[in-house]
Symmetry: C2
Subunit: 490 residues, 2 copies
């Protein structure tokens, strides 16, 4: 290869950025902090979207669409929400341009100033609850189970492709319920949907937990999350599900009449995942040669490359692979046969390796003669020559095996990088090495803030399945009943 790429070892962050370009997933646009998601990257996002959308519908949700713009005053209606979201956002102040009188181009027309500024949605709780107010009168109108696929904008100062961009794509579920328990059940249900998607499609193990007060969504009573470990030992919050209590119902005065006709405030949840999942997917599996994709999220699961000298050889290999293509299609396996004569096999091998195609097949004249095909796995980079006869079944099994292997590998990596610590000295000496640290904490914001300031580590969550264990806070020595998970995070 002409170009030398940065390895994970050399510079993890640089490796990541180069990989996003090399695999043709996305690029920076000329608009500050906004990215262009390129066709190959978008194809992966589309697969994520389709799978999640199906799961949302299976759990009773419908899609809808609410306005991009939020009147400025709406943000102020929920007190903690405004503090969390009204700061860094795109503000629309005018609705017209005009030609400059000096002919220098177009300028903002000062006479077309909005009476009230509009905010490009950073999240849609306020605009949606302003609608729900009119939709909900009685218990018969509940629950409302709606999801929206949309773009949102948060004016981030430091951005990174997929991980943190000014504009990003996401889904946001917004539900309304008659009872507290029902809303909590919904919150947990959607957390489970996310965890299932992460593990069984992304092959990314996650820890399900609840955030501490200081890390909660602005306006939530409780924020649940799934936390994944990246290959540099850092944590990445991959999805959140919020129990919003009655906060938005109170802010927008949304009440329902129960069966006895008594008026009650409605209970709410919201939950979302975003194009950030693309970053998580990349950083969980990829290696120094490029992207590694789990078969369940690979736009191309199998690629085949002919290795020939003569046109006659090519014709025979074409026939074999075209026949295989039909068989794989019938099995629901996506297959690309690349017999483009403008590129050499070596170039193609590197290209599909960079793009993370799970299985690569190659066939040369000798394979053809012997009824064989070379099968290369992207995940562990092993190759073997197998019988072409029955190769479709072989591939089907191998894809399943790769999917399993990637999850197991990520689980093993995580297991090797989780530590239990009891002293703050030990914690401080180890935290820069990366990984998750299970430690006791006294439950106060002050201690949490002190640890963050001194180590840059945050409490990622209190794991749902964490068992009770009497101990003392590693910093203050105050009593603690459970360990929490500390890590540096994206």
């Amino acid at each position: 290869m002409a170009q030398k790429y940065t390895t994970r070892e050399e510079d993890y962050s640089k490796w990541y950025n180069e990989l996003v370009y090399r695999a043709d997933l996305a690029e920076h646009s000329d608009v500050r902090g906004c990215m262009v998601i390129k066709p190959y990257g978008y194809a992966i996002w589309e697969m994520m979207k389709d799978i999640l959308d199906k799961k949302f519908k299976e759990t009773g949700h419908s899609n809808a669409y609410f306005p991009l713009f939020i009147p400025k005053s709406y943000l102020s209606k929920e007190a903690s929400h405004v503090d969390g979201f009204a700061k860094e956002c795109a503000v629309v102040t005018h609705y017209r341009l005009k030609n400059a009188e000096d002919g220098s181009g177009v300028i903002v027309d000062p006479t077309a100033k909005l009476e009230e500024e509009l905010i490009v949605r950073p999240t849609s709780e306020t605009i949606i609850w302003n609608s729900y107010k009119n939709w909900i009168q009685s218990y018969r109108d509940l629950p409302i189970l709606i999801n929206q696929w949309a773009n949102v904008v948060r004016w981030e100062m430091r951005t990174r492709l997929f991980l943190r961009t000014t504009e990003f794509l996401w889904q946001e579920g917004h539900t309304a319920h008659a009872t507290k328990q029902e809303a909590i059940d919904e919150t947990i249900q959607m957390l489970e949907v996310y965890a299932d998607f992460a593990e069984n499609y992304m092959a990314m193990p996650v820890i399900k937990g609840v955030k501490t007060e200081s890390e909660r969504f602005a306006g939530a009573d409780d924020t649940y999350c799934i936390e994944a470990m990246m290959q540099d030992g850092k944590a990445l919050q991959a999805g959140t599900s919020h129990f919003l209590g009655q906060n938005f119902a109170k802010a927008f005065e949304v009440k329902y009449a129960d069966k006895e006709g008594k008026l009650e405030f409605v209970w709410a949840t919201s939950w979302g995942v975003s194009t950030r999942l693309m970053g998580a997917l990349i950083m969980t599996h990829s290696d120094d040669e490029g992207l590694v994709l789990p078969p369940a999220l690979a736009p191309i699961q199998v690629v085949a490359v002919p290795i020939h000298r003569t046109e006659e050889e090519l014709a025979m290999i074409d026939e074999k692979f075209q026949e295989l293509g039909k068989k794989l299609k019938a099995l629901g396996i996506s297959f690309k046969y690349d017999n483009d004569d403008n590129r050499r096999p070596g170039w193609k091998f590197a290209e599909y390796e960079a793009k993370g195609v799970p299985i690569r097949l190659a066939m040369g004249p000798r394979d053809l003669e012997n009824g064989k095909v070379e099968v290369a796995r992207r995940d562990n980079k092993t190759k073997e020559v197998v019988d072409f006869d029955g190769i479709d079944g072989f591939i089907e099994n191998l894809l399943a095996e790769i999917q399993t292997n990637l999850l197991q590998r990520a689980k093993d990596y995580r297991a090797a990088n989780i530590q239990t610590v009891d002293s703050y000295e030990e914690f401080k000496s180890k935290i820069d090495g990366g990984g998750f640290f299970y430690a006791h904490w006294d439950g106060t914001n002050e201690t949490e803030a002190k640890i963050k300031e001194e180590t840059q580590a945050t409490i990622r969550c209190i794991a749902i399945d964490q068992s009770e264990e009497a101990g003392v806070c590693m910093v203050t020595g105050k009593p603690s009943s459970k360990r929490v998970i500390f890590a540096k995070a994206y």
Copy 2:
């Protein structure tokens, strides 16, 4: 029914607005000109999206995503484009809010002013060609065949649900080609895709044509369109496909090296349909009782309602319909069984009628006894009692028949409302009655403008299949070689 709804006869425009609310498709939001697309309306849009997306992919296109924001200066790069789009648009001037010092709420932070204002995309040619510039070096990089599903904003002064809203959802295809002919072929191919979708899924006949110069997209060399006739005789432009020539390539300096290494400007197309199609769908088929949906775009194709007095009867009817539900699912037919005990059958009948469900089944004790079921068609409001045995096959055929009938009915309506006129006097006396008028025109902007000013009618298009016919312009008497289509339009 308690509420009296406006009929088409009484007030077509009011009928339309009421219907959108009554069928629970969409509603006005509190944000000026922006709508909320409700779950039932969004489900129809999702079906449209899925079908179109499949067609785009079958014709070789991939999806991608480009930024929501366009730097103001980009709009000025293509001279006619800026005149067409830089006028009424949402302008982002600031990126931060802060708490007002007097505690009155949040205000725009004057120190967070953008150096260059950002425009919320009204269409994406400029931002996309600014990217293509970096993607295209040689003929090997062509063609680029990309589509984007996105929201766009045009600050419309007068808005109507689905037909004209400040924010709307759409798809925009943007392709780049090495030759003029290839770009023209692409333009026509996508026009055909739209026409096929309109006729075979929306059951809406359309005329394929090319716009006159004055009705062209800002920046196009030619704009092709599909024009449909609504039930009030007005025309609705349902989709456009633009041959952009080399205009954007020149504006953004996008050249490619051909096989001989010679640098040439790239040829372009763009094409789009939007949530406006929802308005077209509604106004093509619906009646005074509510929405009428073609089966190919009905989220619920068949609804079944039990009519019972006792719990025992209900249990028996439940069993019958649940069994039918399985059979219909196997046939790919969407079915809803509504045995909700809180609503009476009459209420349900009116509800599903308003929502345009193509087939309604009802079963009472006598039907149960006789092995019968009542089948009501939404399109022509006929009812018949048929054998329950074999009802699944009966329904499958009936859905196909309804789809065909709706298209035929719309074709008949259109045929009855197309006229050929040769004198301007006759044209003026008839134009207020609605319909399409085939007339000769001298090909000048002046005459076109005069007719528009005097009658509010515009040239909808010059139909592609319009045969040559020597004649004279109905206004000026100058020679004309082809009739063009005049109508009042949405």
